[in-house]
């Protein structure tokens, strides 16, 4: 089989970078498996409980970059109790003991302790990049350890983490010798930072391309930072509050004009909308704009701003932009690929300012649109059908109608036909989230047409087991299925248990599956962990197979039951 020496094959494999492709390569034959595994540097593990760190280390001795995901997606919405799991410490401990020269660690929805961060910072000489997304469990003390000990740190990127902020000194822990920073994002920190230390750090980081500040960084400092870092490509503004007639504001205008490379802008965690004109020069070049944490920007001021953004490819915004504002987006942002409209009232009291009209306008004006997250007041079948016609290129389509079982307000019908049109038209659809009044029919469409679908999120939908069965039978590429509050029971769950081995995970909460049904899955499929999350600890006293299970999470794994589950998690 091998016509070339190993080194040549290895060189060829160097050009194969996607995880999927490298996984395929490793399956060709034994010698390709061996060459691939020894040369692999980047590994992605979508479920940290599917494999153990020891086995990872054994297979990929050349590992440099590791991505790990922990809790299931619905943990974002408080459906998973805090201490369910997803601890990174055992991974760092095992890697530290080994000879792995870890350089990059990317974590999502994991529990990260200060201890882990400290161990990480001291164990890998060439450690360069730490990215934490939606993680928790650490404080600014852990960050201080990273700053102090990682001599060649290039990237510290904290996105939407719950950090216990002990105020400020961690930034001062970057030694004077640290000049390698390329990316620093601490927007999610709530506390004060040492502004002087921040200025000095930015001054000695000539390669800094991405800087995202938290709300404790005032305009005054922002202006100074921009003067020192005109090469920035990505900027997250912390506080943008100032008197438009002050000297600082004038200085800011000058600083902004020097920043010709900024393509990505976010933040505005505090904003005075009448001061925006100073930064208008940036908007014309932006490809990514995130105003989803800036409720102070709305109405005409916001629309005026958007009109400058002719090159925008990705826009994250609050629904106070309104349908009218989305109309401005449709007219202006012809390059738009991704749109996310978040609710400005996150507690969902039904005050959403966008409807199906805004979405239709954007779909008509932005033909390149391929990724959508849209929280809205209502949706109609007609609108969805129009959107499907206008934008056949959707890869991600997530629609959230704030009233989860609301029908089409015009016809009073379920939204089956609308979503059906989406899946039929968008042949490349990989991710779909449904809402509104939906019957089994929409699932028939999904099973029939959504051939590329990998992730499906369902809530308050369907009439019977048939809905789930259509999906499981039809969507061959399905990897993640998460369901809440649907009438799916054991019959659907047990129809094809082998299917779950082809998927990463299945989540079902507030459905009709019983303990007996879950036990049955576990018995038939030893390669799955079937977890029952039982916060009320009913199962302890009443192990009746007929009892309905409140929350079930099952996932394929090569390493059997995990040992770190809390008491209220029953692994069958």
């Amino acid at each position: 089989m091998n016509y070339f020496p190993d080194e040549v094959l290895e060189h060829v494999f160097d050009f194969i970078t996607s995880h999927k492709d490298r996984n395929s390569v490793s399956l060709v034959c034994k010698s390709w498996y061996k060459i691939e595994r020894c040369s692999r540097q980047r590994v992605f593990i979508g479920n940290c409980y599917s494999i153990s760190p020891e086995r990872l280390i054994a297979r990929f001795p050349g590992l440099k970059s590791l991505t790990l995901k922990g809790k299931p997606h619905f943990a974002d919405f408080n459906l998973v109790p805090h201490d369910w799991g997803g601890f990174v410490y055992p991974w760092i401990k095992a890697l530290a003991k080994s000879r792995i020269g870890l350089e990059e660690l990317r974590l999502k929805r994991m529990v990260v302790s200060d201890e882990s961060l400290e161990l990480l910072s001291k164990s890998f000489v060439n450690f360069k990049s730490l990215v934490l997304v939606s993680c928790e469990g650490f404080t600014t003390d852990g960050l201080a350890a990273i700053a102090a000990n990682c001599r060649f740190l290039r990237e510290l990127d904290l996105q939407e983490n719950e950090v216990d902020d002990h105020r400020g000194h961690w930034l001062s822990c970057f030694p004077e010798s640290c000049t390698s920073l390329i990316s620093l994002n601490f927007a999610c920190l709530r506390g004060e930072v040492n502004l002087g230390a921040l200025e000095r750090l930015v001054s000695r980081s000539p390669n800094l391309k991405s800087l995202r500040l938290n709300r404790a960084v005032p305009l005054d400092t922002l202006q100074k930072l921009l003067m020192r870092a005109p090469q920035l490509v990505d900027l997250g503004i912390g506080s943008y509050v100032h008197d438009p007639f002050s000297e600082v504001y004038n200085k800011l205008k000058i600083a902004i004009q020097r920043c010709k490379s900024i393509r990505s802008l976010s933040g505005f965690l505090e904003v005075a909308p009448h001061c925006m004109s100073a930064i208008y020069p940036i908007f014309g070049n932006l490809t990514f704009l995130n105003l989803s944490y800036a409720p102070g920007l709305h109405g005409n001021k916001l629309m005026k701003l958007i009109q400058h953004c002719r090159k925008l490819q990705r826009l994250w915004i609050l629904d106070c932009i309104g349908d009218k504002g989305l109309g401005v987006v449709a007219l202006t942002c012809k390059e738009l690929q991704e749109l996310r409209v978040f609710p400005s009232d996150p507690f969902g009291a039904g005050n959403a300012a966008v409807t199906e009209e805004g979405l239709v306008l954007v779909s008509a004006g932005c033909p390149k649109l391929n990724s959508l997250l849209y929280f809205c007041q209502q949706m109609t079948n007609a609108a969805l059908i129009t959107v499907a016609k206008n934008c056949p290129n959707f890869i991600r389509f997530r629609l959230c109608i704030l009233d989860p079982i609301k029908p089409d307000p015009v016809t009073n019908q379920p939204l089956d036909e609308g979503f059906g049109a989406i899946v039929q038209s968008c042949k490349g659809l990989k991710r779909l989230s449904l809402s509104g009044l939906l019957t089994d029919q929409v699932f028939l469409y999904i099973g029939m047409y959504a051939e590329q679908l990998e992730m499906l999120s369902i809530a308050f939908a369907a009439d019977s087991d048939k809905g789930m069965l259509y999906v499981l039978n039809g969507c061959k590429k399905l990897r993640k299925l998460e369901i809440r509050d649907c009438p799916f029971g054991d019959a659907a769950l047990l129809e094809d248990v082998g299917k779950y081995e082809t998927m990463r995970s299945l989540w079902m909460s507030s459905c009709e599956v019983t303990l007996g049904g879950c036990k049955s899955v576990a018995e038939k499929m030893p390669s799955l962990n079937v977890e029952i999350i039982d916060e009320c600890e009913q199962m302890e006293f009443n192990l009746d197979d007929k009892q309905k299970v409140d929350k079930m999470y099952l996932y394929r794994t090569l390493v059997g039951h995990r040992k770190d589950a809390p008491e209220y998690v029953l692994i069958l």
């Binding site: 919405f77 719950e162 978040f342 005050n351």
Partner: protein, 182 residues
């Protein structure tokens, strides 16, 4: 700089009676305040919407975003910021939802409503609003931006200014006076 009047308004609360003949109404107000509040809670939307908003995990907005999303247009947030309010001389404490108020002046009005009668009944002295922050320190209300205040305030106390003598409150008042003049 927002001219919020800050603590100045509350320190200027006078405790003479507002102008006679309103005793009955005041008494009504004390009780009706309670029932008023209940009515307000009920009228926050039709019952179906109310119960929907209590569904766990719906709408599917990630908890980080929920915690960091302030300032919707009409100020109708569900409460996450109830703090106890004590007043020197008042026999019992009250609770107030900081999230429902837009700023310090709004807060002062609410406190006046809560403690109206007690404020009027006390001998003519002035009051200072102070709060206990996350570090356990007692701070004069009004120094920091409103959003920062909500986050760090653990409880409120309406303290007699006489008790605050020697704690730099007078000086702050002068400072506040100064800025207001600008």
């Amino acid at each position: 700089m927002a001219k919020e009047g800050l603590g100045l308004e509350i320190t200027e609360l006078r405790l003479g009676l507002p102008g006679g003949g309103t005793e009955k109404n005041e008494k009504k107000r004390v009780f009706s305040e309670i029932s008023e509040e209940e009515e307000n809670e009920k009228s926050n939307g039709p019952p179906e919407l109310q119960s929907k908003s209590q569904v766990v995990g719906w709408p599917p907005v990630c908890s980080y975003r929920k915690k960091n999303s302030f300032g919707d247009k009409d100020g109708s947030k569900t409460s996450k910021f109830y703090v106890k309010v004590s007043m020197d001389g008042a026999p019992f404490l009250r609770k107030i939802n900081l999230a429902l108020h837009k700023g310090y002046s709004d807060l002062v009005k609410a406190l006046e409503k809560l403690f109206g009668e007690a404020l009027r009944d006390a001998e003519s002295c002035e009051f200072v609003p102070i709060y206990e922050d996350k570090d356990g320190d007692w701070m004069l209300a009004g120094d920091v931006p409103w959003e920062m205040f909500i986050e760090s305030c653990k409880r409120l106390r309406i303290m007699k200014k006489a008790d605050a003598k020697g704690f730099g409150v007078l000086q702050s008042r002068v400072a506040l006076n100064g800025t207001l003049k600008e």
